[in-house]
Symmetry: C2
Subunit: 393 residues, 2 copies
């Protein structure tokens, strides 16, 4: 006996990981310098010095204390440090009791959806979206409703979202700066979304939460990134330090249940319950204490900004169409044929590894992760030229 749903989920092809694995194999065959791997969102800038220093300090402590259990929602001092950071950074009176430290944004979102949804509810995602939103919505026994973003701005389409909301809608997940597009949702758009949701809550007599998935908050190129709880009270922020502190494999982040909700404490209690249900005891203790010492440490955005410049300029000159990224480290490029999977396959002939947009719930585009070595981008330009010529020739 085996759970068929879980088997199917484990056996499901994962295009990003397949491409990544293909890349490893190909690099072994023809040399790493000849493969242009734009597949994976693993930060290419090292963790800031603060992180290394904090690790060293943790290791100098009494090891019994350094590696001890913390309460499930996190070390009280760490929760307080995060709440204080939110208070000072975003001007909201955040309390430690509404901060729940997690093993990254993944567990934050999975826990949050299980905490706030009842079986049969609907969760809205704006396509293209991070594929695991669907998985975690199903874990909560709910349905994911995909609403395409406006093209080519890739802003949320407020009217389309409004039309999709009904008496089963419990949440909308937003992700700005956005993976895979690199779009940043404008303040005007978020305000319009908040206004519409508030009216719908009133009309339906029902809570509709915004789940703000914010791992890329600090990876931006000058754009204004509003703090969603300041625009909409019923917001739960899912944050990760994976990108801002370049710690993707360490799994550390948090859930912040906005203190602007009157019943924030009850929701935090449900969050704690969902954490238990999904098998979490506490977030890794050393990581909790490391990030507490590095809150607000600036990310090395300059490297990504320089990569962005190099890549967009190069592709622009070759005639590719793309969305100008305002944040994150992804470039969303129009495939040169309607079938993005076929396009991605053809790109492999030129040693270019590009993720087809089908993985993210839309057709006709590819995602390029430019958190890679600058030299790879430089050397890939002739391949992009040859790929373009193969369609125009």
């Amino acid at each position: 006996m085996i759970n068929q749903k879980m088997f199917d989920l484990g056996a499901e092809p994962n295009k990003i990981r397949e491409l990544f694995a293909y890349g490893l194999k190909r690099k072994a065959e023809i040399g790493a310098e000849n493969v242009f791997d734009y597949s994976i969102g693993n930060p290419s800038v090292p963790a800031p010095e603060c992180v290394h220093q904090a690790f060293v300090e943790q290791l100098q402590q009494d090891p019994v204390v350094a590696h001890e259990y913390t309460p499930s929602p996190g070390d009280p001092a760490v929760r307080k440090a995060i709440a204080d950071y939110i208070t000072s950074e975003f001007g909201i009176s955040a309390t430690a009791g509404n901060v729940y430290v997690t093993s990254g944004a993944s567990s934050a979102i999975a826990i949050t959806l299980s905490a706030i949804c009842e079986p049969g509810d609907e969760v809205i995602a704006i396509a293209p979206y991070f594929p695991e939103y669907r998985t975690w919505t199903h874990t909560a026994d709910c349905t994911l409703v995909e609403i395409p973003a406006s093209v080519p701005s890739f802003q949320p389409d407020i009217a389309a979202i409004e039309a999709a909301i009904n008496e089963r809608t419990s949440a909308i997940i937003i992700n700005s700066p956005n993976n895979p597009v690199g779009a940043v949702y404008t303040r005007e758009n978020l305000q319009a979304l908040a206004k519409m949701l508030a009216a719908k809550e009133q009309e339906l007599g029902r809570r509709i939460f915004i789940v703000a998935d914010e791992p890329y908050r600090e990876i931006t190129y000058g754009a204004d990134i509003p703090y969603v709880p300041n625009l909409y009270a019923d917001t739960i922020v899912c944050y990760s330090f994976s990108k801002s502190l370049s710690l993707p494999g360490e799994r550390i982040g948090y859930i912040y249940v906005s203190d602007r909700m009157g019943d924030a404490q009850a929701i935090s209690t449900a969050v704690a319950g969902a954490g238990r249900a999904l098998g979490y005891i506490c977030a890794p203790v050393m990581l909790q204490r490391v990030i507490a010492k590095c809150l607000g440490t600036p990310s090395d955005v300059a490297t990504y900004a320089s990569n962005r410049e190099l890549l967009t300029q190069g592709l622009s000159e070759l005639g590719y169409e793309y969305v100008q990224p305002e944040g994150a480290f992804y470039l969303w490029v129009r495939a040169l044929e309607p079938d993005a999977i076929a396009f991605s396959e053809r790109a492999k002939d030129y040693e270019l590894l590009l993720v087809p947009s089908d993985s993210f719930g839309v057709k006709g585009w590819v995602r390029l992760s430019y958190c890679i070595a600058r030299s790879t981008i430089e050397r890939s330009m002739p391949a992009f030229r040859a790929l373009m010529e193969s369609y125009n020739g």
Copy 2:
């Protein structure tokens, strides 16, 4: 809107944590040396030097590599190291593909149950048992069936388990060395369990897995600890380094799907799917690589052995009845009145913090964690005497 089940789970009183919190408050009031805190299973011996050394080595690496994502089932080199260790230590041909690295035994068990059970199935636990077995069984939409252990040996009662098995039974969770009792299941008893389960599988035409929860495997006082996959093919081992390497808050362990199952690969696929569903991306990467370097490092059992000796001798002289622990670092003591909760409350009058057995699914006992300072045990003896006298006086 909020998920009531998750709210209830988050709001559920946790006697162990309540006692622990009470202890912190009481220590602040009357001085730590005057409170005898037997509530929590946080290892009191430091992590072995190997662990510290491995952390330092990880921190000397390129930080981009040191903190990178690994594949969800774990760093391939770490999975292979664990498989090789199982092979050499237990004489089973373990393959890396059937090792899935987890965030401790908690996530290992939650993931395993979701992978192998279908909604409506039954999971058997031997009472007393670790309370979260119930939570994670419910996460898999299954029912936990409690079968009391034989008293006073606290071995599994094979006949009672046999009588409970039906066409909905999908797994039995065993935990040896045992929390909360400290019992070690004998080879004869495990063989009898295996034989009965094999016959039941035949009779019902249905897989019945043993889920072997083994965080205390290395914390033993000379007892023989059989490797369950060698006795019963349909075994899934859930292991944690929390106790053996004194890393409880770091959350690192693994699932091993026995290679002796013909369809181990399919079960490992379901395990990977369940990991995704519950929000796991990968186990903390630095911890993965640290434990890979410390596999087989002996635990400092001597300290626990000496505590065990001191505590059992002291309580014995005072006339307390207890189960002689063969492993783990818990002592299971008969309450001096039928109501263990009332007994635990009265013990607080003598500054003794003892966890009532009701938390573990049985009545009339208390659990003492003796992974504490030796001096605490010494100083607590007059309190145990006074507690005993309060009942006899």
